[in-house]
Each structure stands twice: as C-alpha cells, then as structure tokens.
C-alpha cells in the first residue's frame, strides 16, 4: 500500500477556500511535485504557475504552511514537521485563481523604482572596465541574483500596511543599479526610492532576507539606499 499525504490547497479567488486532497507520499518529493500530481491526476482545473523547476525562473512561489517559499526547491519533508501541508497563493498580491496571483503590482513597482538600466555609453564606445573586487561592484554582486519570485514582497509587513510601498525586490534592484558605474539614471532613481513609499518606510523587520530563496539580503540593500539618499540630500542632489 502506497503511503499518502494529505494536502490542503487554496481553491478559487480572493474569497476561495482550502480543499483537501490525498496524494502519494514519496521520498524527495517537492511541494511543486505535490501540486502537479493534484492537477494531473485529481483535478485538472487547478491553476498554478511554474516554468523551470530548478530555482531559476522565480515563477512558482506560493505560501507553504503560512510561509512564502519557492515550491520547486522546497522538499515536502522540510516543511511537514507537524504532518500538515497547506498551500496557498502568495500574500500581498491579488489572487487570480487558486495558486495564481496577479504579479502586475509587483513588477510595476520595479519600474516605479527606476529599475531599468540607463545606458550612458555612446555607440562604439570601449567597454567600461569595472574591477570585480571594487566596493561598488561587490555591493551590486551581493544583490544581483534576484529571480523576481516575490517571496520577499509577500513576506513584507510594510507592503501589507502600505499598498504603495515599493517593496524589497524593487528597492533591491534599484540598489544594484545605484552601484553600476555604467548607469546614468541615479538622480531620478534616488528621487524615486526616497519618497514616502520608498526606502525610508522600511522597518528592517528582515523577513525578506530571512525568506529569500537566493539568500539575498534586501534589507541591507535598502539600508544602502537610505545612506545614498541621505548623501544625495546633503549634496543638494535630491
């Protein structure tokens, strides 16, 4: 007889409910494996989002037992200490259906935080030489590997309180560009991240750094932005 696992999955939109399913329990099973089993063998109408299955694309983040996680790299055995597995859509984002959320607000804030690179080099210009061990390059390196999964955004209390708050991921992205010697958009960027919904609203709760699947520390990036905006203010450049 095959051992089974009882899993509760959110069904419906904002006003949905949890529905229980019995799935086979297997060794080295990920949370995404469980969801995929339910959709392929029990209820094909279950809606969820995934792509790479190897922790690169950032599309499969969900709330697992109350905590936002990337489901493709989260083993069931790691999160079912109490014998319970409950899977819900990410918090702080509008639920479209089942486990799928609307990421529009999340990515719009990357644009509002001026998260796009502003090129300064003319066509045909030589490569900019950046020392790998330079201070600014190392600061950018520490924050650059974000996969845009929104785990930090879903775990942020300030986003919950203030829907306009840019959030850890967008501010982290801005910090990587603030440290990019080739970028020419820092005046507008620092003004964008210093407003009342920007870096100064962060309470340094550090849930983002605690839960980031890539082990980045957006709180540290936001602290860097706080310093950069204060310096800009004192120089009269804000």
């Amino acid at each position: 007889m095959v051992a089974t696992l009882n899993v509760s999955i959110w069904r419906g939109g904002e006003r949905g409910k949890f529905v229980s399913y019995e799935v086979p329990s297997r060794d080295d099973q990920t949370v995404l494996d469980v969801i995929t089993h339910v959709q392929r063998h029990i209820d094909p109408t279950l809606t969820y989002r995934f792509a790479c299955r190897v922790g690169m694309c950032g599309s499969c983040a969900m709330t697992v037992n109350g905590t936002p996680r990337w489901t493709c790299r989260t083993h069931v055995s790691r999160v079912t200490g109490t014998g319970r597995l409950e899977i819900a859509p990410l918090q702080n984002l509008k639920v479209l259906k089942d486990l799928c959320v609307d990421m529009t607000a999340f990515f719009d804030k990357w644009a509002r935080a001026k998260g796009a690179f502003v090129a300064t080099a003319e066509k045909g210009a030589d490569f900019v030489r950046i020392k790998p061990d330079g201070r600014r390059r190392r600061q950018a390196d520490a924050a650059i590997e974000c996969i845009g999964c929104a785990v930090c955004y879903a775990s942020c209390d300030v986003v919950t309180w203030n829907k306009d708050y840019l959030g850890p991921a967008a501010l982290n992205r801005a910090w990587t560009l603030v440290n990019d010697d080739r970028d020419g958009g820092n005046k507008a960027r620092l003004a964008a991240v210093a407003g009342d919904a920007g870096c100064h609203s962060c309470h340094s709760h550090q849930s983002c750094g605690e839960l980031c699947p890539k082990h980045l520390n957006p709180t540290a990036s936001i602290a860097g932005l706080k310093r950069a905006t204060v310096l800009a203010l004192l120089k009269g450049a804000l």
Partner: protein, 115 residues
C-alpha cells in the same frame, strides 16, 4: 519634494535617536542616583539652578524627544490610519512645537529663569 522631506525626516529621526540613546541613559542614571540617595525635589532643583551644563543637556534632550516622538507618531499615523497626509503632517508640526515648548519651559523653570 516628498523625496527630500522624507529623507530629511528619516535623517532627523536617526540623529535624534542617537542623542536619545545617550540622553535617556544619563537621565535614568540621574533618576536612579537621586532616588537611591534620597534627595528631595527641592534639593534637585537647587543643584540644577544656574548649572549651565545641565541646562544645555536638558535643552538638547527635550528637543530630541519632541523631534523623535513627533516623527515617530507621523509614521504610525501614516501606516495605521486612513487620515490624509496633509492632516497628519499638520498634526506633526503642531505636536513638535507643543512638545518643544513644554520641554523648554520646564528646563527654563529648573534652571531658574524668571525666578
């Protein structure tokens, strides 16, 4: 405009916190010493009157309390209430003026102005 104001308020909040870190410790130390030594309010006032160092200390302390408390309350109101930003900012300005006035009035009284 908002970026400059918010950054300035953040800076003032941090600077006043640094002052309070030292000032509160000194203040509590003085209270504990006074209580354990059994001095009366009258004796404390006698020691403070005319003492420029304590006067300067409490002028800075009272200003830091007013600034830190008002900016903190502004943040709480903005995050936890639906009140309009202009109203909250007006309350903040009024509060900082009231707190500084009350604090400095008490400090002036202890120093002995007007006696």
């Amino acid at each position: 405009m908002s970026a400059r104001v918010d950054t300035l308020l953040w800076l003032m909040q941090r600077a006043s916190a640094m002052i309070l870190g030292v000032a509160v410790a000194v203040h509590l130390g003085v209270i504990v010493r006074a209580v354990r030594g059994g001095v009366t309010a009258h004796e404390i006032i006698e020691r403070l009157q005319g003492n420029t160092a304590w006067f300067a200390f409490y002028v800075v302390f009272a200003a830091a309390v007013a600034v830190h408390g008002s900016i903190g309350l502004r943040t709480v109101l903005r995050e936890m209430t639906p009140l309009p930003t202009r109203l909250i900012d007006s309350v903040t300005v009024i509060l900082v003026i009231v707190l500084i006035s009350m604090g400095w009035r008490a400090v002036a009284g202890l120093y002995g102005f007007g006696t």
